[in-house]
């Protein structure tokens, strides 16, 4: 972590040799083209969250043309005060638009945005906006609903496992979406949860997977970033779902599908808008319909399950399936969503209860 930021700072200071030695271009300099900056919370090689942002950055560069737009990225930036310094450096270095791609970059982004009113800022997964700070996110829960449908159809034991990262609404809504999907095809389906209190620890993720399988879970969902749960599932002859990117290459016999983050189209739109002056602050929460979320091919399942998964995908896309539509009870039996009512985006984004069928508590 220290390494990439140091290199970045050094390079701004002009010692490009350091990066040449390391062989990894952290920054691309150019005089004329429009400059777009990206700040990542993890390494670009994480095979998950950051990897997908970086793939989208490259797609954007490709689509607009490298002669017209130049991109810079800084990887493994810690959330908090350090982020502010990196964002400020990017703004000072003449970037017209800066994407800050983690929830914890919210306040640093707002702080720097105040001092650079001419620069456009795009903050992923946040909820605070200003004149020059827009927010964007993906409706990941739509993909998880489909995972729930598949799990409900496939599970022999009727109990599936879910590896939780940290108990924030984003993760909770994913668990509830899986519960909704599973119970739509199997009303008595159960979900066991193990929290690892982090986003990324391949060793611990595989231990958690083993713990869940040992408790009789035969399908594993994960809200953590490594592919190791899928690998363990494969080793034990069970199944699971990829996270953020298509992970079929590491678990060809275990992956049923994967919710793939597709930031590319959004990045192309927004950089174009910033270039032609039509950019406005907004809040975008796109899912399957907007093509910001894609499902990896449905594999390792029978044709009828495949058909059910496809039907769920089509239903969510067309709006015929509303995922958080009442009646939905929480695990204590309290009615959280009334019959016939559908949760609005604000309520989904602030979800702090676990739905019926989920075992395990929400750490407070």
């Amino acid at each position: 972590m220290l390494r990439s930021r140091r290199t970045f700072t050094k390079m701004l200071g002009g010692t490009a040799a350091a990066a040449a030695v390391l062989g990894r271009p952290f920054i691309v300099r150019a005089a004329d083209p429009f400059k777009a900056g990206f700040i990542y919370v993890g390494p670009v090689a994480d095979f998950g969250w950051t990897h997908q942002h970086d793939t989208a950055r490259k797609a954007m560069e490709e689509a607009i043309g490298t002669d017209k737009v130049k991109t810079t990225y800084v990887e493994s930036v810690k959330e908090g005060p350090d982020a502010e310094r990196v964002i400020r450096e990017l703004a000072t270095a003449g970037h017209g638009i800066i994407f800050t791609t983690s929830f914890g970059f919210m306040n640093p982004t707002l702080k720097v945005a105040k001092d650079f009113p001419a620069v456009k800022f795009e903050h992923a997964t946040g909820y605070k906006r200003t004149e020059n700070v827009a927010t964007y996110n993906i409706r990941f829960y739509e993909g998880r609903y489909i995972q729930g449908v598949i799990a409900g159809k496939m599970s022999k034991s009727g109990t599936i496992g879910y590896i939780g990262s940290v108990p924030i609404p984003e993760v909770v809504m994913g668990m509830n979406a899986v519960a909704q999907g599973m119970r739509s095809v199997r009303p008595d389906g159960k979900i066991k949860i193990v929290w690892i209190n982090g986003w990324y620890d391949p060793g611990k993720e595989s231990d958690a997977t083993k713990a869940l399988i040992d408790q009789g879970c035969d399908i594993i969902c994960q809200h953590t970033d490594s592919g190791s749960p899928l690998q363990v599932a494969q080793e034990r002859g069970m199944h699971g779902f990829g996270q953020a990117s298509d992970m079929i290459s590491i678990a060809p016999k275990a992956q049923l599908t994967s919710s793939i983050d597709n930031w590319g189209p959004y990045y192309i739109d927004r950089v174009k808008a910033a270039m032609d002056g039509s950019w406005k602050s907004q809040d975008v929460w796109g899912g399957l319909k907007a093509d910001m979320l894609k499902m990896a091919p449905y594999t390792n399942m029978d044709d009828d399950v495949k058909a059910a998964a496809q039907a769920a995908e089509d239903g969510v896309k067309s709006g015929q399936i509303i995922i958080f539509k009442g009646p939905i009870k929480d695990q204590n039996g309290t009615l959280q969503v009334k019959d016939g009512e559908a949760l609005d985006d604000g309520k989904i984004a602030g979800m702090n209860w676990l739905a019926e069928g989920i075992e395990g508590k929400l750490p407070s």
Binding site: A45, V194, W195, Y200, A211, D214, Q231
Partner: protein
């Protein structure tokens, strides 16, 4: 009831895989520290060992060669450390920290082409008859070869340190390099060997992570286990037997907290995550009350540079 037993067996199996990388790296660091060298670069050496092992296993298709490459890479990293601190007398703490940062970066650089590839996990040894015994069979006799190696190596290290002349020399150098030098022992040479052995073991621990524990490569995949191994050596007050207990205690609590969650006990998972570290602090406090015992085991020259004048 049989279900409960099956679960306990399963949990025990998971504990063993979680404890092994810690035990391997800590065994190496124990020898390094016993010779009076403090190498804080364990995390970096583990990461380089992990990627070297993984890349070699992918390229050659042989996990044996992969393990060998992991060991060699860890030893190579330790050699860099040894040259800097023992020959050029650089500060050991600073150099060790730098080695970790260097190893993190180097492994990420080498590993960027290996993300998202799977390698076949190490085969489990199935000892005929024995591994089919109920309960103890799968725990004691159905593991992969590196797990048995970790026990053998620890036993060998314990024997070497306390039952051989060479081990006595190594410990004496760690306790008083001036005196050992005066008698005529080659302080720097022994320290070179001890440091390289430590690196090789860290590399082996790393290779275990990427070839057996979660058979894949991802950046920073050791996730702090190198630091835990360092803490373990202190936790064990430099005694091999306690090292074994400590590694399994750390691994055990870490795994137990995951199982407790799945069992549905209402204990906050953050509290459970904290437990191994709380246990370390507690044990440290308890042991520290007995100053003489610490002094007996802690190498007196730990981290001090040696320069043979004349």
């Amino acid at each position: 009831m049989s279900g409960d037993i099956a679960q306990i067996v399963a949990a025990a199996l998971t504990v063993i895989t979680a404890a092994t990388p810690l035990l391997l790296a800590a065994t190496g660091e124990l020898v390094t520290e016993k010779s009076g060298v403090l190498n804080l670069g364990v995390e970096g050496m583990m990461l380089v060992g992990a990627i070297a092992g993984f890349a070699t296993a992918i390229t050659t298709g042989s996990s044996t060669l992969g393990i060998a490459a992991g060991v060699a890479a860890g030893a190579g990293m330790a050699l860099i450390f040894a040259v800097l601190t023992l020959t050029f007398l650089a500060n050991q703490v600073a150099t060790g920290l730098a080695l970790t940062i260097f190893g993190t970066g180097l492994s990420a650089l080498i590993g960027s082409g290996y993300v998202g590839i799977a390698v076949k996990p190490l085969p489990r040894l199935a000892i005929p008859v024995l591994s089919e015994l109920p309960l103890v069979g799968p725990i004691l006799f159905g593991q992969d070869v590196l797990i048995y190696t970790s026990f053998l190596l620890l036993a060998a290290v314990a024997y070497f340190l306390y039952r051989t002349h060479a081990g006595l020399v190594l410990r004496s150098i760690g306790d008083s390099h001036e005196a050992a030098h005066a008698i005529g022992y080659r302080v720097i040479g022994v320290r070179y060997l001890a440091t390289i052995f430590g690196g090789a073991m860290s590399g082996l621990g790393g290779a275990y992570m990427s070839l057996a524990y979660s058979p894949s490569w991802s950046e920073g995949m050791t996730a702090g286990r190198g630091w835990i191994a360092l803490a373990l050596v202190v936790f064990a007050t430099w005694r091999p037997a306690r090292l074994l207990a400590g590694a399994y205690l750390f691994g055990g609590i870490n795994i137990l907290q995951l199982y407790i969650q799945a069992w549905g006990w209402e204990i906050p998972s953050q509290f459970l995550t904290m437990l191994p570290y709380l246990a370390t602090v507690l044990v440290l406090v308890l042991i520290s009350r007995d100053q003489t015992r610490i002094r007996l085991n802690a190498p007196a020259c730990l981290g001090k540079p040696f320069y043979a004048a004349g």
